[in-house]
């Protein structure tokens, strides 16, 4: 029985890219309890939403987070379209699906790189991010922005993607898939990576359900849950089935994300081949309808929830975003209980935290 010590961890920490603060109660080398606190970068974007007109608001909302920027834009415009009863054209929906999957690829690649970095595997980190660059270039080519795409708008998308661009995307995705295969081989089979990930930070299926985990964290614990099944975009037409893992440890979460990467490559290729011709936007004019709309979508990190309430003016009365990390924090605290101090950064990273998202 050792002495209990409290170690403050974050918001500034060499290995932690996110501004979350944890009070770790340590006994010998084991973490007994972790108490999180956030709020270091609270920007009050939900309040800003009330003083911006709804067509311009999408540019604010997609700046909630740099990595899931497309997902935030998509979620917001879908919620407003739901509120106003607007149907977007087929082609716009397919384009959104494609971009959403591309953003999932780049987010998961980023995560793989950061995990390698947390393990101390610098060269793997560099190689992963080198591959990710291809996807960012595709965003630059099609939307004009590498990170903030500003391509969704209420009623469709701002830019069409021409045939030559689609061909280029498909060939780049093919190349990325090839390079990813070599990388994932390292992640899944290298002894040193496995020894850091296997059996660490286990979250059982019961715990995942009890703590309302979402996204890859829940799926790695064997929970059948993926918001792409709820009729958003064109996933239904593309025959989408979620990837469900087992085990619930860090290795399982890594494996689920890698399988999702491969699945996203498939979806992008499929969307490019079945893309119908037609307009990419419908005009949406006039004030918002009075009423409320709540919807969810699957971001790379998990389920995000958007709630909008209109009151007949051009301004939203209330706009609410609930991001995946918000929901995964309780699971993270559970995973940290009983782990070694040295594993703390790895466990925090495997929930793919995005505190900027969480605080909005």
């Amino acid at each position: 029985m050792g002495k209990r010590t409290v170690i403050p961890f974050g918001p500034q920490h060499p290995i932690l890219p996110e501004p979350v603060h944890l009070d770790l109660v340590i006994e010998d080398e084991k973490v007994i309890e972790a108490v999180p606190s956030i709020g270091f970068i609270h920007r009050g974007l939900e309040k800003l939403a009330e003083v911006r007109e709804y067509p311009e608001l999408v540019y604010v909302i997609e700046r909630i987070c740099g990595i899931c920027s497309f997902g935030h834009g998509l979620g917001y415009v879908t919620a407003v379209e739901g509120l106003m009863g607007v149907e977007v054209p087929e082609r716009a929906d397919y384009l959104r699906t494609m971009w959403h999957e591309l953003s999932r690829i780049h987010s998961h690649m980023l995560w793989l790189g950061l995990t390698a970095d947390a393990l101390g595997f610098e060269s793997l980190f560099m190689h992963t991010w080198k591959v990710r660059e291809r996807i960012l270039n595709m965003f630059d080519l099609t939307t004009g922005g590498r990170v903030i795409h500003s391509v969704c708008k209420v009623g469709g998308v701002r830019r069409d993607v021409e045939e030559e661009m689609l061909d280029r995307i498909v060939s780049e995705v093919r190349e990325t898939r090839k390079e990813t295969r070599k990388l994932t081989d390292v992640f899944l089979r290298d002894t040193s990576v496995k020894s850091r990930l296997c059996g660490v930070g286990i979250l059982s299926k019961e715990d995942a359900e009890e703590l309302c985990a979402v996204g890859p964290v829940a799926r790695a614990s064997g929970v059948y849950q993926d918001m792409r099944l709820n009729g958003m975009c064109k996933y239904g037409e593309l025959g989408f089935e979620p990837v469900i893992g087992e085990g619930g440890d860090c290795y399982a979460r890594c494996k689920v994300r890698i399988s999702e990467l491969n699945q996203s490559f498939d979806i992008v290729e499929k969307t490019a081949s079945v893309m119908p011709d037609g307009p990419v936007e419908v005009q949406v004019r006039g004030p918002l309808q009075a009423g409320e709309f709540m919807m969810r979508l699957e971001q790379p990190r998990g389920e995000a929830l958007y709630y909008v309430r209109g009151n007949g003016t051009r301004y939203l009365e209330r706009m609410r975003v609930r991001t995946p990390t918000n929901m995964n924090l309780p699971s993270m605290v559970r995973m940290l209980q009983g782990c070694d101090l040295a594993d703390v950064p790895v466990i925090i990273l495997t929930i793919d935290p995005c505190i900027s998202c969480t605080e909005r």
């Binding site: 609270h42 359900e209 309430r309 609410r320």
Partner: protein
């Protein structure tokens, strides 16, 4: 596949019945999605969202601004995040729960900034 995401389920309930209804959700294995607070004409409306097999159910309860509400952390543990957030930003007291870090889950420069009487910049 049927299109769920456009189907909206909102139901208004009395604040006193909240705990009982949420206990019912728990026994039916619903997943808590979020709690959202918003100001409506001097009252604070709380929306509790639940998910079962990718379908969303929302229940609404109204309390007066700065009022009290029964905590549901005993039923759904993750609710503490939302309750702390609403406590710190809207000033609603949740009875029967210990706000994270003594009511300082969010590090703010002034207390309860989203309560209508506290609004407005410096």
């Amino acid at each position: 596949m049927k299109c769920h995401y456009r189907i909206q389920n909102f139901e208004e309930i009395k604040a006193e019945d909240l705990t009982e209804i949420i206990r019912g959700f728990k026994t039916e294995k619903y997943r808590l999605c979020q709690i959202c607070a918003s100001n409506i004409e001097g009252d604070t409306e709380l929306i509790y969202s639940f998910d079962l097999d990718h379908e969303l159910f929302n229940i609404k309860a109204t309390v007066r601004n700065g009022g009290g509400m029964e905590s549901i952390t005993g039923i759904y543990q993750p609710a503490s995040i939302y309750e702390s957030e609403i406590h710190d930003l809207f000033g609603i007291e949740f009875t029967g729960s210990r706000p994270n870090r003594g009511g300082k889950f969010f590090v703010l420069s002034k207390p309860t900034p989203w309560l209508p009487e506290n609004e407005g910049g410096e």
